[in-house]
């Protein structure tokens, strides 16, 4: 029983860590621009697929992974430059439709560049299962959890200690005031897209050895990431991480103890219930009203 519980918990943590990375991407862009970027899942796909291509071409992971992350970041920057920036001042829902259009475009592009098949990526450090407290995990799961942890720490350092991070944070709190104290708000917006694209790509690369990757892998992961970001409270870094982990664990626990057919539905019921009592998510800013 407890071994079983342990297995569900570890699985939930792995899945949840990926959701958390995607959710962080949503939150960073939301903070800078109040845009919900529905193309976030596509960064996950670009990260995974680029790494697949580069390693197939013979590049070692140490080279392929940074390149893939850079590629995704470039796409993120391009998205901001050519799709979001020209539409500055448009209503929030118009921006949502633009990012949905962008995600369809990117998926279509991936289909043409690569193909429609599933691709596997070799695990970073073998695939001999490791036993922990009666449960077994793949070494890749530890990579997922470990890297996510490292990224969360790095981000909190970035936002708390560096000038650029503080500028980004300031912009999210009050754009006008930030501009008045001399922060280049446009640049912050631009960089936030690059940063969250890079985070998405990391998620995509980490998960590919476990789940395989394909041109439309971003659809479901994007959706779950969005759900996590909302559950945790939009714009809150802690919220995104907690939201992701809660969602991941809720899914696996429901699959294990209640019903595997309804595990996603149960997860969404939980989110609805949380929102009913906490309309701004677990860690969201209270009283901020935006439509």
């Amino acid at each position: 029983m407890s071994a079983q519980f342990m297995q569900y918990l570890l699985t939930g943590l792995t899945v949840g860590a990926i959701y958390a990375l995607v959710a962080l991407g949503f939150s960073i862009i939301f903070n800078a621009s109040h845009v919900i970027n529905f193309a976030q899942g596509e960064f996950v796909m670009i990260g995974g697929m680029t790494t697949v291509t580069l390693t197939a071409a013979g590049l070692p992971y140490l080279l392929a992974i940074p390149l893939a992350i850079a590629a995704a970041a470039l796409v993120g920057l391009a998205l901001e430059k050519f799709a979001v920036e020209p539409a500055r001042g448009a209503s929030v829902i118009t921006l949502i439709i633009i990012t949905i259009g962008a995600s369809i475009f990117l998926r279509g592009l991936a289909m043409v560049i690569w193909d429609k098949r599933f691709h596997a990526l070799k695990p970073f450090t073998g695939d001999t299962p490791i036993a922990i407290g009666g449960a077994t995990v793949l070494p890749q799961s530890l990579w997922v959890i470990g890297v996510t942890l490292a990224i969360v720490l790095a981000l909190s350092w970035f936002f708390g200690r560096t000038l650029l991070g503080k500028a980004m944070l300031a912009t999210s709190h009050n754009r006008l005031a930030a501009q008045l104290v001399g922060i280049n708000v446009r640049m912050v917006l631009f960089l936030s897209f690059g940063l969250s694209a890079a985070l998405g790509a990391v998620a995509g690369i980490l998960i590919a050895p476990i789940t395989t990757t394909s041109y439309d892998v971003g659809v479901m992961l994007g959706l779950k990431g969005f759900a996590s970001a909302i559950l945790g409270g939009l714009g809150s870094g802690v919220g995104a991480v907690v939201g992701g982990l809660v969602l991941g664990i809720a899914e696996t626990m429901s699959a294990g103890y209640i019903s595997s057919a309804y595990k996603d539905a149960i997860a969404f019921v939980i989110i609805l219930a949380v929102l009913f009592f906490m309309p701004s998510g677990l860690f969201g800013k209270r009283g901020s009203e935006r439509v």
């Binding site: 939301f30 962008a102 995600s103 289909m111 969404f268 019921v269 609805l272």
Partner: protein, 325 residues
């Protein structure tokens, strides 16, 4: 012609009626009629959804759930249990209205993206129930639906359906326009500009939002029932998240807070995939690019933006109340 579309109520209704009446002149075979029927059905959903998004300012990413509930309610009651289709449709509509009423109250307390998430979750839960309960719904492979018969008369064939859906669309537009012009509609618009302000002048925001939510769900449900009978087959895809996104896109594309914009959005985005087949492998890319491009260059949506352009050219003073229609 497009400026007429944005012109006063009667003018717009008349223009729409004329388009519906004359369209068959260019519909040279059943395939074109089929597309026209699909446009009509989507337009009915969008006219309802536009009341919610455009006028009440409440986003919903779950309306395909109501559409699917309508389609499956009719399918199950009429095809599995042999109810008369109209009775099945009525019962389903009432059930969906009740569902929207019950969940609407807590959900509509949420704002902005949180509301988007909640409606999205609601839609996904409906979708999952439909896919999983295959004893009733036939699961992911779908279920056949009997044709729509009223008394002894069977409604079949694209041409007949075209006129029925055309008439229903006119009715839906008429209802929506009347609602917008009514005191309730003015209250709604007040809501959109400032909910707090509206509350202060004595508008019961929660009641109004709930009413529009239920109305838009009913529109979607009826269109779903009709679509099921028309197609003779329904799959869970109609209740899926992506369909919800499609519906919202149609509304925004055509022009938020413009009833005729919703119709135009439905027409363009329903026919576009048929035109894009020539691009073969690049179809998806082109579709995404068209979506992005339109929203970047016409951020207010096609109909309001074009209407504004026309007005500017005629050097008429821009009238906000008019563009809102």
């Amino acid at each position: 012609m497009l400026s007429r579309l944005a012109a006063p109520r009667t003018g717009g209704m008349l223009a729409l009626a004329v388009v519906i009446a004359l369209l068959p002149l260019v519909l040279s075979n059943k395939y074109f009629y089929d597309i026209a029927v699909l446009v009509g059905l989507n337009a009915i959903v969008c006219v309802g959804l536009n009341l919610l998004i455009g006028y009440a300012g409440q986003i919903s990413l779950g309306h395909a759930g109501f559409f699917g509930a309508g389609a499956y309610g009719s399918a199950i009651l009429a095809s599995r249990y042999g109810w008369p289709p109209l009775a099945a449709m009525l019962a389903t509509t009432l059930a969906v209205a009740a569902l929207a009423f019950l969940v609407g109250r807590p959900i509509l307390r949420l704002k902005g993206h949180y509301l988007a998430m909640a409606t999205l979750g609601l839609g996904i839960i409906i979708f999952m129930v439909i896919t999983t309960e295959d004893r009733f719904t036939g699961g992911p492979d779908g279920i056949s639906v009997v044709p729509l018969s009223i008394g002894g008369f069977v409604l079949q064939g694209e041409r007949l359906w075209y006129w029925v859906v055309g008439a229903l669309l006119l009715l839906a537009v008429w209802l929506a326009l009347n609602l917008i012009e009514s005191p309730a509609g003015r209250a709604l618009r007040a809501l959109h500009s400032s909910e707090v302000g509206a509350e202060v002048v004595g508008i019961n925001a929660a009641e109004h939002k709930l009413m529009v939510f239920v109305i838009s769900a009913v529109f979607a449900s009826i269109a779903g029932s009709l679509a099921a009978h028309y197609s003779g087959f329904v799959t869970p895809g109609k209740a899926a998240f992506l369909h919800s996104i499609e519906l919202v896109t149609m509304v925004v594309f055509g022009g938020m807070a413009s009833t005729f914009g919703a119709v135009v959005g439905a027409a363009v985005l329903t026919t576009l995939p048929q035109l894009l087949t020539v691009f073969e492998d690049y179809e998806m890319m082109v579709f995404g690019a068209v979506m992005m491009g339109t929203m970047i260059f016409l951020p207010r949506g096609v109909v309001p933006s074009v209407a504004r352009l026309f007005r500017a050219r005629r050097r008429e003073p821009a009238d906000h109340a008019e563009t809102r229609r």
